[in-house]
């Protein structure tokens, strides 16, 4: 078992960065915590500081003001960190990509490990995305070992 695998084996702690979004994805992320979806049963919790986090969730298009903060947050994050872009805006910029304050989709600013498209993605899709991400990390570490 590699070190990366060991880190991501159990409960993932998640830090949520809401960029210039319309709030829909933020609400659906919060919805994952509530009784119907209850993502905490997998050990995932939202944490208040990036320094405690294993996963950085980014949603919304990133504007000029957010870009500096996102870069700073990413530099403060303990590595390895998984970055997940949520929603159409996080993945591509969505409907706001032509806006005058748009500073590029998330993957132009920091490396992204998983994309969850949708406007907004359903909570099931977000959970599904994270599950796929964990599988991907496990597979990558297995490949490294062999």
């Amino acid at each position: 078992m590699g070190f990366k695998d060991y880190c991501f084996r159990k409960s993932l702690w998640v830090f949520h960065f809401g960029g210039a979004s319309c709030n829909n994805c933020d609400i659906e992320i919060l919805d994952c915590l509530t009784p119907r979806y209850d993502i905490e049963r997998f050990g995932m919790v939202l944490v208040g500081s990036i320094r405690h986090a294993d996963v950085l969730l980014v949603n919304g298009s990133i504007n000029q003001k957010d870009k500096i903060r996102l870069l700073e947050l990413y530099s403060q994050a303990p590595k390895p960190i998984l970055v997940v872009a949520i929603g159409a805006c996080g993945c591509t910029g969505g409907i706001f990509a032509e806006g005058n304050t748009f500073a590029g989709p998330v993957d132009k600013i920091i490396p992204v490990d998983a994309y969850v498209p949708g406007c907004p993605p359903k909570p099931e899709a977000i959970i599904g995305g994270i599950v796929r991400l964990i599988e991907k990390t496990k597979k990558a570490t297995r490949d490294e070992a062999t």
């Binding site: 210039a20 709030n23 919060l30 509530t34 119907r36 003001k65 806006g99 406007c119």
Partner: protein
């Protein structure tokens, strides 16, 4: 007298990426000990340039754009825009479309108020309320998914009507869910109104008097909780609201508890409105949901709609082409956020957070351009001209791609 900065004066930042908030915004609380002496709000983290984007989209596309001004009140903006465009083109919408519009608008009010109630519990550190209320918010979202195909952004509105019909075969299912919700909301009303913890944390906190509301021009449940009877649905009737029987909910206190009370009772009132609209739907012919709109004449129009947070105001200027020349949006939080100064100053820090949350502020609606000033020269770094240059630069790079 201006107090000198001392070690007793502390600035407590809330945000911009605070675990308590789901949106990015920055509050600076200037505190002396436990007491908040001043408050400043910094914006710009959520700016997307919607009004400018709107000028580059056709009228049909603008609906999808204004829907994404705010994800929580994502019907009220298309609602106001539709009212606005129908004023310009002088269109009368069929009754069935009016009923459907009102049903969507009221369902949204239910889910938005439940969302606020849960978050208010979360702000108080009372996570039981958060979990319970959000559990009963899910059936509303299921209804949305059944009617419109999406949980949050519904894409139901168009100029001259609605995009999808609510077939009569779906009405029993909607009624069943509403009956279930009514029981649960009754239970929540009882549980929250009698809870000693909620009483202790919200009564007498963040009081806004009737005078304050008028001075700050606050709207929506914030105003209604202080006894000001202001509601666009009542004052400037649109859609099916004149066709159904309902009343404006007000409360006296003006504190956080009164705002909770107004929102809870409004949920029950919304269920009552939807039930009447469903009865109205049965009388109309299925499929009669839109009128044909050939062109939009030159002119200016204003449209208003009552969002869950208050009055949404849209202004559009057209020149006979397919695109708006100017599109101005004013969301309710824009005026409600100003009341923070009245509600928070003089409170303790722990009460300030719930006072901030009490007006149900929506920052993605309110977001305005923020200008940066150079600290040393006092020069404006990014102004209107700078923004236009930036916009042209972005367009140039897009063309080259």
């Amino acid at each position: 007298m201006k107090s000198e900065p001392s070690t007793m004066n502390k600035i407590i930042p809330i945000g911009p990426y605070h675990p308590l908030q789901e949106e990015p915004e920055l509050f600076k609380l200037y505190c002396e000990g436990e007491i908040v002496k001043d408050i400043k709000w910094e914006t710009g983290y959520n700016h997307r340039g919607i009004e400018k984007l709107s000028e580059s989209k056709t009228f049909d596309q603008v609906f999808f754009l204004v829907e994404r001004v705010c994800g929580i009140c994502s019907t009220s903006h298309p609602f106001a825009f539709a009212n606005c465009m129908e004023e310009i083109a002088d269109i009368e919408v069929p009754d069935r479309a009016k009923y459907i519009r009102s049903i969507i608008g009221e369902l949204e009010r239910i889910h938005s108020h439940l969302l606020w109630l849960g978050l208010a519990g979360h702000f108080l550190g009372y996570n039981t309320v958060f979990m319970w209320v959000w559990k009963y918010r899910e059936p509303v979202l299921d209804l949305f998914e059944m009617i419109t195909g999406n949980r949050n952004s519904y894409a139901m509105f168009k100029i001259g009507g609605v995009r999808r019909d609510i077939e009569n075969s779906k009405i029993p299912k909607i009624k069943e869910t509403l009956d279930f919700l009514k029981k649960k909301i009754d239970m929540l009303v009882g549980a929250i109104m009698d809870d000693p913890v909620i009483h202790a944390r919200t009564k007498g906190v963040g009081i806004l008097t009737q005078e304050d509301i008028i001075n700050y021009a606050a709207v929506g449940p914030t105003a209604r909780a202080s006894g000001v009877e202001i509601d666009v649905r009542h004052d400037d009737p649109y859609a099916a609201y004149p066709l159904v029987n309902w009343k404006v909910i007000t409360a006296k206190g003006g504190d956080v508890f009164a705002k909770t009370e107004v929102r809870l009772l409004e949920i029950l009132e919304s269920i009552y409105i939807i039930e009447q609209c469903l009865e109205g739907l049965k009388k109309e012919n299925e499929g009669d949901i839109e009128v044909l709109v050939k062109e939009i004449p030159e002119g200016v129009g204003t449209g208003r709609a009552e969002a869950p947070r208050g009055e949404v105001f849209h202004f559009v200027k057209t020149d006979g082409s397919n695109y708006p020349v100017r599109h101005k949006i004013r969301a309710p939080s824009y005026v409600n956020i100003a009341t923070f100064r009245k509600a928070c100053i003089g409170q303790t820090i722990s009460d300030a957070t719930i006072s901030l949350a009490a007006v149900d502020p929506c920052y993605c609606c309110t977001e305005r351009m923020a200008c940066a000033y150079d600290l040393h020269t006092g020069e404006r770094i990014l102004d209107g001209k700078g923004l236009i240059d930036l916009s042209q630069h972005v367009t140039d790079t897009l063309i080259k791609l």
